[in-house]
Amino acid sequence: MHDKTSDTILETRQLTKSFKGFTAVNDVNLRVQRGSIHALIGPNGAGKTTCFNLLTKFLEPTQGQILFNGQDITREQPAQIARRGIIRSFQISAVFPHLSVLENVRVGLQRKLGTAYHFWKSERSLNQLNEQAHHLLTEVGLQDFARETTVNLPYGRKRALEIATTLAMEPELMLLDEPTQGMGHEDVDRVTQLIKKVAAGRTILMVEHNMGVVSNIAHTITVLQRGAVLAEGSYAEVSGNPAVMEAYMGTTDGQLQGAH
């Protein structure tokens, strides 16, 4: 077994964010295990999205530290963090609508070539990436859509493409903010399965209100409330916790539990 530190891919220490006197994230100590799917849940306004924004440096923490693979990344820029392998997905679908599906993935792959600034090279030099791109598309089930212009894809497939592009970055840690929001049941299932699949060999930290999804794939769940950690553990542990029920799940009769 690894020792404890190398097993932790991401750690926050006393992470805090205040907005003009209102503390949205309060002294949060989070440890994400390498290779796990970690879910962040909690009532609305608990500070989940804010947490994500801090981790990717879209917001500046008021206090506290963020450690990635044991290194302090608290002071780094968003693009630097992305290059380290922490990639986040957005709540709205984030694709390049007028590029082809293949080109979308290639944009993700291209950075590694180191020719992104080479304005004198032919774009044919990018064809070497095609094989890898097809491979990624196959992984998310889009192999047959490679030549399609992205706008024409249905919603769920756009999400899949987004994930494929994200995978192209070879992320060590993926941050997903409500990945199934606004999806129909079929798509929810497809994306859930996809997340499970791509989680192999990677770490995923996700925010999700859909308890069905969370119970299905998350290894560890952290419940936030009013900016602070309320509970942490497996789904069984957390969902049985009375405090969590009261703050988040609501009635104990289970009628609406996992409402989606």
């Binding site: 968003p78 957005f90 007028h98 590029l99 944009v107 950075r111 004198w120």
Partner: protein, 329 residues
């Protein structure tokens, strides 16, 4: 349009351009046109392919025009050095304006470029080396590479054609390069490009500098061809013209700016004659005054383009060809 038919068209265009002096067209006018076609293409690199509307491109055209003019006239440097210095000046100015402007997005970006260019305008108005309102006049063309005498309009014409064609090829290459691919991505969805680890500000700055440098080349070439650099080149109306050229020709198409430049230059130079012609054929006296109403007509074209003709001439042509192909298929 597919590649071969496009190449055939470009080939034809080149043939026509090569033949210009022999078919009775005034080469000085065509030189001017070529310079502006290059200017518009450089501008389109920014607007059409990156989605950044700069309203300060006159600064690069004009700034470089002055630098080249001054270098040739006062320092007496060789012609090719003058052109190079002008292009360099365009790049440097582009870097200065660009690094300020890309701090803001959208319409603010546009206003900042406009304001900074206006600042350069006032600077040029006051600096003694620009000749103020009088401009730099009688800039010598000199000899290219020490043995090609540019004093002859014909020689100058072919040199201009050569340089603009080369620059145009470069622009084509930029658009279809790994770099161009990222630009497209930025235009489509900038936050996503950032999250994929691209420093989009640097890409934007770089394309801004490239566009400015090429605009600078256009300006230097223009000084050389016409023999002067004046405040007109740095005035904001010049920035407006280049937007119009690109818009009329077709945003984001490679050939659009060429067509657009031709239309606008022809309009500015020949509207009066055209007015007289219409007046004499229709007998409506009003058209005789058309030449004085160039601004009005240009304004009108702007309005029409925005309201009804946003794809521009080449955009429409391409769409037409595509529809026609669709029917065939």
């Amino acid at each position: 349009m597919n590649k071969t038919s496009k190449n055939i068209l470009y080939g034809l265009l080149l043939l026509v351009l090569l033949a210009v002096p022999f078919i009775g067209i005034y080469p000085v006018l065509v030189m001017k046109l070529l310079c502006f076609a290059l200017f518009a293409s450089a501008f389109n690199l920014l607007l059409g392919y990156t989605g950044l509307l700069s309203f300060g491109h006159a600064a690069f055209l004009g700034g470089s025009a002055y630098v080249t003019g001054h270098a040739l006239k006062v320092w007496g440097v060789p012609t090719e050095v003058g052109l190079l210095l002008g292009t360099l000046a365009g790049a440097v100015l582009g870097w200065l304006v660009g690094s300020l402007a890309i701090r803001r997005q959208g319409i603010y970006f546009t206003m900042i470029t406009l304001a900074l260019a206006q600042m350069l305008f006032f600077f040029c108005l006051q600096m003694p080396f620009t000749g103020g309102e009088d401009g730099l006049q009688a800039v010598p063309r000199g000899q290219l590479l020490g043995f090609i005498n540019l004093g002859n309009d014909l020689t100058m014409y072919y040199v201009t054609l050569l340089i603009t064609a080369a620059a145009f090829l470069l622009i084509m290459r930029i658009v279809h390069s790994p770099f161009g691919q990222i630009l497209k991505a930025i235009k489509e969805n900038e936050p996503r490009a950032i999250s994929l680890g691209y420093d989009t500000q640097r890409f934007k700055l770089m394309v801004f500098v490239l566009s400015a440098a090429l605009s600078g080349l256009a300006g230097s070439l223009k000084t050389l061809a016409m023999g002067f650099a004046t405040l007109t080149d740095v005035h904001w109306t010049m920035s407006g013209s280049v937007v119009l050229m690109t818009l009329v020709g077709g945003l984001g198409t490679l050939s659009g700016p060429l067509v657009g430049a031709a239309v606008v230059i022809a309009l500015e130079n020949k509207l009066g004659e055209f007015g007289h012609l219409v007046a004499s054929t229709t007998g409506i006296e009003w058209f005789n005054g058309l030449g004085e109403s160039v601004t009005m007509v240009i304004g009108f074209i702007f309005v029409v383009c925005v309201l009804a003709f946003r794809r521009g001439i080449m955009g429409e042509v391409i769409a037409l060809v595509e529809r026609w192909r669709g029917k065939q298929a």
